[in-house]
């Protein structure tokens, strides 16, 4: 019998921080991000053994969970009641988070995967299951809006 618990624990320790940061930047809420990453690991439990790049599937699962979350329109409520409560971030980071939350999910995903996770365009395209040109255009628009709205 495979030792799933051990295998999953290794992956959990290896990728938890990265996925949490990614989910936090995608949802704007730490609590939502923690729930999301927890759920992703639970759903992927036992399925990642032997995969060449389990991080790829975990990241994709987080992005897809973000899409689903925003489709269910739960973020606004969670965001409104949790983020302001527990975060003590500098104003400029609060502003950045607010602008990120106003970006369409795809643009947000692209800039987060590029600047937080450090993926290149091909990796982002594979993660988001879209073309490289879509990644480039989404990055251009998302970055452009961030630069514009963050400029004093």
């Amino acid at each position: 019998m495979r030792d799933l618990a051990t295998q999953d624990a290794v992956l959990y320790r290896a990728y938890y921080s990265e996925l949490l940061k990614t989910a936090f930047c995608l949802t704007g809420s730490r609590e939502t991000a923690e729930d999301m990453v927890q759920d992703v690991f639970v759903r992927c439990s036992g399925r990642l053994e032997g995969m060449e790049d389990p991080a790829f599937y975990l990241r994709r699962a987080v992005v897809n969970a973000t899409r689903s979350l925003f489709r269910r329109r739960l973020v606004a409520q969670r965001w409104a009641t949790t983020v302001s409560a527990w975060d003590e971030m500098p104003d400029e980071l609060v502003e950045l988070r607010d602008v990120l939350m106003r970006l369409p999910v795809r643009q947000r995903s692209v800039v987060v995967l590029r600047y937080v996770v450090g993926l290149d365009d091909d990796e982002i395209a594979a993660t988001l299951e879209c073309s490289r040109s879509t990644v480039r255009s989404s990055a251009r628009r998302g970055l452009g809006r961030l630069r514009k709205e963050l400029t004093p």
Partner: protein
């Protein structure tokens, strides 16, 4: 403007904040996975009580600021609008056209006519129509109409039939012919011609008994003629058109603005003389798009028509219209959005005037009128807020671009950004950017409808920035359509 590197640095710093509490409480102990939800993390218990008290205070203060008596909170409406979802419409069986006629029947969105490409000698106005059913996401074609194809026709849905009249043909001539379409029979009927050609700037409302049309004004070389500022009515029960008394006040150049309150018709008018920008004549429509310093119109008037007595009255608005205005009726009130203060207006064809929105020109003056008290009240906020606009972008406030749900007034053309005015809280919200795969350019001449759940947009022409970066140009590319659904 801050650099890409600075954005990247802040992104990394923001991401690190995800781990702050994680470092205090630690991930789930021992790397074991917890499968049950909801759950509480140990770290939550360790939060000092003072922080909880501070949170309660913050939330109480915030609630006091956002509460509006008699309405929902602005936060909830704003969140609903900002978390809305955009979707692409499936391909229609007809080519996307600009300035089509459209009507929402309660189950189907009917679209007919329109112009193919920018207004000019090569334009065509085919006789084509289609119906979109959101419940099945399917399109069907309409049978050929008994009148010639046209753009900018006026139309109303009576509850059982769709009446289409006037408009302009491909040669620019103003038309008087009219027809009706019964979707239950999938059949067209020819109606008597209108007594006065309404021209391409006219607007119409359905009163429950009659279709009332107020004609526009289209002067200038190369511009379709027609439109004397008259008012006329069609009664389906008698199949007769009637010329109504002429509205008081004077014509305002461009699209006629009407609002129907349920018992009275409101028409925006100029207090003295026909308002016409001299520079317009030097900018042939459909070609060079020049800046059009159009305004101001101090103390514009609203002509009020009572169909029960066939009489007009006049209201004076305590503001100055500097941009292209919008008129709408809500909850018994009348809403006037007077456009960006000092913003330049761009004339791109015979019907549409666009508001350019460079940075200094985003503010609007908006007023609401309460017939019961006879008082005008200024509305807070602006249509185009903050940083959603790029210099050189244009926003279309003409024709069917302003859509009312009864409580929310949307400004959207199907692409780019939109705005929404929530009448319950008198607040504006900038909608999130549209479809990921759609360009950010604005679209002019699209048709827009509210189905009760979704905002639909179809057709029209995209705008591209000009090489000079100042004024947009119509590239003639048709727009396939999109829908927007606010959060439930």
């Amino acid at each position: 403007m801050i650099s890409e590197e600075e954005v990247a640095k802040r992104m990394v710093r923001l991401a690190e904040h995800a781990l702050v509490e994680h470092a205090l409480a630690g991930p789930t102990a021992g790397g074991r996975l917890v499968e049950s939800r909801p759950r509480r993390r140990p770290g939550r218990v360790l939060v000092p009580l003072a922080a909880v008290a501070a949170l309660a205070l913050v939330l109480a203060v915030a609630a006091a600021h956002i509460y509006r008596p008699g309405g929902s909170t602005s936060v909830s409406m704003s969140s609903r609008l900002q978390q809305g979802v955009f979707s692409a419409l499936p391909g229609a069986p007809i080519p996307p056209l600009g300035y089509s006629a459209s009507a929402w029947t309660g189950s189907e969105w009917l679209i007919w006519g329109g112009v193919d490409g920018p207004v000019g000698p090569k334009e065509t106005t085919p006789d084509v129509g289609a119906a979109y059913r959101p419940s099945t996401s399917t399109w069907t074609s309409l049978p050929p109409a008994p009148i010639s194809g046209r753009h900018s026709a006026v139309s109303v849905w009576t509850g059982s039939e769709w009446i289409i009249a006037g408009g302009a043909g491909s040669n620019g001539a103003a038309l008087t012919s009219a027809a009706s379409f019964d979707p239950s029979l999938d059949r067209w009927s020819v109606l008597p011609p209108m007594p006065d050609a309404p021209g391409p700037n006219a607007a119409a409302v359905w009163t429950g008994k009659e279709m009332i049309v107020v004609t526009g004004y289209s002067p200038g070389p190369g511009v379709p003629t027609g439109g004397s500022g008259a008012a006329e009515a069609y009664n389906p029960a008698t199949r007769r058109w009637t010329l109504l008394p002429t509205p008081p006040g004077n014509l305002i150049f461009g699209q006629v603005h009407l609002a129907w309150s349920g018992s009275k018709l409101y028409v925006l008018r100029s207090p003295a003389g026909v308002y016409l920008s001299v520079s317009f004549a030097a900018n042939p429509p459909g070609k060079t798009i020049g800046s059009l310093p159009m305004g101001p119109i101090p103390n514009p008037v609203v002509a009020v028509f009572d169909p029960s007595t066939d009489t007009w009255a006049t209201l004076t608005i305590p503001t100055t219209i500097r941009g292209y205005p919008v008129l709408a009726a809500y909850d018994g009130r009348l809403l006037v959005v007077a456009g960006p203060g000092g913003g330049s207006l761009l004339q791109v064809n015979d019907r549409q005037v666009l508001i350019s929105a460079p940075k200094p020109y985003r503010q609007t003056e908006s007023y609401s009128y309460d017939p019961a008290s006879g008082a005008w009240e200024p509305l807070a906020g602006s249509v185009l807020t903050g940083t959603d606009l790029k210099p050189g972008e244009a926003y279309d406030y003409g024709g069917g671009q302003a859509v009312s749900t009864g409580t929310v007034l949307y400004f959207w053309s199907g692409a780019g950004y939109g705005s929404a005015f929530d009448a319950a809280t008198d607040s504006w919200t900038v909608l999130p950017a549209g479809l990921d795969n759609q360009p950010d350019e604005s679209v002019i001449g699209s048709v827009v409808a509210w189905t009760g759940k979704d905002l639909l947009a179809w057709g029209g022409q995209k705008l591209d920035p000009s090489p000079s970066g100042e004024n947009p140009v119509v590239n003639g590319t048709p727009f396939g359509g999109a829908s927007y659904r606010p959060e439930n």
